[in-house]
């Protein structure tokens, strides 16, 4: 890695990755609001990871006598429905907690895929320039000028689990949750990656002129090495903040798709779908609607507060 003929003094040793992570998390102490956001996010991550360890009912088990019970009501076997039940007598608390697993898993995966695609395209467009830039930017502009909802609707209605393609894939024995999840990821990637690519391209255009890139070019590194090892890591600051915000948007988008019954298939406890399922029951269902709405709002709020605090901290440095 060393380029210059500087004296071979000992480089200061970088602390291990974990220590650096913990240190940057400790920076959050500066901001109470940011700590609260981190707490909310952490809460849902723990719920998602520990769902199996908690004494919860089966989130899919239906119970005919207990339809739309209010919070804290008693089940026939003497136990308590802490948050009540939904229109099929399923326990809301366990559906929420198992739902957090689905929501976090698919939204993180979708954000990750969208980011990987977007960063790759953005760094190509920014670093290679010329035709690469023209083609990638034009495709990005086409996708960005689709109204986002039209893009989602078109992809999910034509290639989703209820389309002909979806039926073909399902007939191969693929689990319906996986089919839906993959097509959701595709839709979100189409909607999000162009925006990420645009940000990354802007950052790369700026970084490209730095000396260390020239140094890497002079010592004959391959373009891929320069893009992946020199450019992207140095663009990470603004990208981390953006990823935090965007994860919030993706969570909302997935919940919205669930609400519009284009998301994960029933009976999966998707938060958006939980609201849509009981909506028809009017006032009787207000208990069953409020909890998923609170869950999603608190998770997105946590991410937004966290992103806000991270941005403020990064501005201090």
């Amino acid at each position: 890695m060393t380029v210059t003929s500087a004296p071979a003094t000992e480089m200061p040793k970088r602390p291990p990755f974990i220590v650096r992570m913990l240190r940057s998390i400790a920076l959050l102490r500066e901001s109470y609001v940011g700590m609260f956001g981190a707490f909310l996010v952490l809460f849902w991550i723990i719920m998602a990871l520990g769902a199996d360890l908690m004494p919860l009912r089966d989130p899919l088990a239906q119970s005919a006598p207990d339809l739309l019970k209010p919070a804290l009501s008693l089940a026939p076997d003497g136990s308590t429905y802490w948050l009540g039940t939904d229109d099929k007598g399923r326990d809301l608390l366990s559906r929420l907690i198992y739902g957090s697993r689905l929501v976090l898993f698919w939204s993180i995966l979708a954000t990750f895929v969208a980011y990987a695609v977007g960063m790759l395209l953005g760094v190509m467009a920014g670093y290679r320039g010329g035709w690469w830039d023209e083609v990638i930017s034009f495709l990005g502009n086409v996708l960005l000028s689709f109204p986002p909802m039209v893009l989602f609707l078109v992809i999910l209605t034509n290639f989703g689990p209820n389309s002909r393609l979806g039926h073909v894939i399902a007939s191969l024995g693929v689990d319906s949750t996986v089919v839906s999840g993959v097509i959701i990821i595709v839709a979100i990637t189409f909607g999000t990656a162009p925006q990420v690519a645009r940000i990354v391209r802007g950052l790369v255009l700026d970084l490209k002129t730095r000396d260390y890139i020239a140094a890497a070019e002079v010592r004959g590194e391959s373009p891929f090495y320069i893009m992946l090892v020199e450019l992207l890591p140095n663009a990470r600051g603004p990208l981390i903040v953006d990823a935090c915000l965007r994860l919030g948007y993706v969570i909302i988008a997935i919940a919205v798709l669930g609400f519009l019954s284009l998301g994960l298939p029933p009976p999966d406890p998707d938060w958006g779908k939980m609201i849509a399922e009981v909506r028809g029951f009017g006032a009787m269902a207000s208990n069953a609607m409020i909890w998923p709405a609170l869950a999603i709002s608190s998770l997105v709020l946590g991410l937004n507060l966290l992103a806000d605090a991270l941005r403020e901290i990064s501005l201090h440095d």
Partner: protein
């Protein structure tokens, strides 16, 4: 200016053509399913094939697309398969409804976010700034269907003050408009408040504001006469871009409140596979997006004297 308009128009038409082609390709897959949805689940196969033949769906894709494209630019937007009416005639009242909703949201959002943004930007880092900033992050975190759920639970089920659906079945009523407008304002105003705040805070640290303060002008006068005009340029131009979202991005709100608007028409058509309606909606959406971008650019040039006199 004319050159700019011409270039925008050309790129808009190119975008429209690319997007409509992609839409026609995407919806090409399932024509028989479309016929089944039109004629009902138990319709005979011959009937479905006949319907496809009668309505010209058996012509090659290229022919159908070109005939649609020609019709679109000459005012014949074809017949919707779902409602069996001319698309233009079907979409016009829907656009009207969305315009009412969008205009209310736009005006209220603009007023609230400009006032709050200016109030918090005047004294950056102060208590008032912190409170307003936190409130705007919190409200932005409530997706439309979540805040809709809360508002419906409170104002419809508990207090029984407002109707829970806004389908205007008994004609137009302001009461039905309150909840959808509230939901959209809650979701949107935070972003613009923060934008205004940032712009205001930047102006407050500028040289000419410091000069005004140092020469002893009262603070109100400094804010109203010197800072405000310059601080509002950026947020105003960004707010115009919101029009785009208010047309097609409000699907959830319209579905939630059964509001018969443009976005809901688009959603229903996409679920039904009604290519002509979806394409027409996408074209209108692209048109409004390009138009609002254009207005925003012009507005920016007009409001900013540095560019106007350059």
């Amino acid at each position: 200016m004319l050159l700019l308009a011409g270039r925008r128009l050309a790129s808009m038409i190119l975008m429209m053509i690319v997007i409509s082609m992609l839409l026609f390709l995407a919806f090409e897959g399932d024509k028989l399913a479309l016929a089944a949805r039109v004629l009902g689940q138990y319709s005979p196969m011959e009937g479905r094939l006949q319907w496809l033949e009668d309505n010209g769906y058996n012509r090659p894709l290229v022919v159908r697309y070109l005939s649609w494209l020609f019709g679109f630019f000459t005012g014949d937007w074809k017949i919707s398969a779902q409602v069996n009416r001319p698309v233009l005639e079907f979409l016009a009242p829907r656009l009207g409804n969305t315009a009412i909703l969008g205009l209310c949201v736009f005006v209220i959002t603009a007023v609230i976010s400009l006032i709050l943004g200016v109030l918090s930007g005047i004294n950056e880092g102060g208590l008032r700034d912190r409170v307003i900033s936190v409130i705007s992050v919190i409200t932005t975190s409530f997706p439309e269907f979540a805040s809709g759920t809360f508002l419906v639970a409170i104002f419809v089920f508990w207090l029984d003050w407002l109707p829970g659906s806004s389908s205007f079945t008994n004609g137009f009523s302001w009461r039905e408009l309150v909840l959808p407008v509230a939901v959209l304002v809650i979701f949107n105003f935070g972003y613009y408040t923060r934008m205004t705040r940032a712009s205001m805070a930047e102006v407050m640290t500028s040289q000419y504001v410091r000069t005004a303060v140092l020469k002893g002008l009262p603070p109100q006068r400094v804010v109203v006469r010197h800072a405000l005009r310059n601080a509002l340029i950026a947020p105003f131009t960004v707010m115009i871009l919101q029009l785009n979202y208010l047309l097609s991005g409000i699907v959830v709100t319209e579905v939630f409140f059964a509001y018969d608007g443009f976005a809901k028409a688009m959603y229903d058509a996409a679920l039904f596979g009604d290519t002509y309606v979806v394409s027409a909606c996408a074209m209108v959406a692209v048109f409004v997006a390009v138009l609002s971008q254009f207005i925003s650019d012009i507005g920016y040039t007009y409001l900013n004297p540095r560019i106007r006199f350059a």
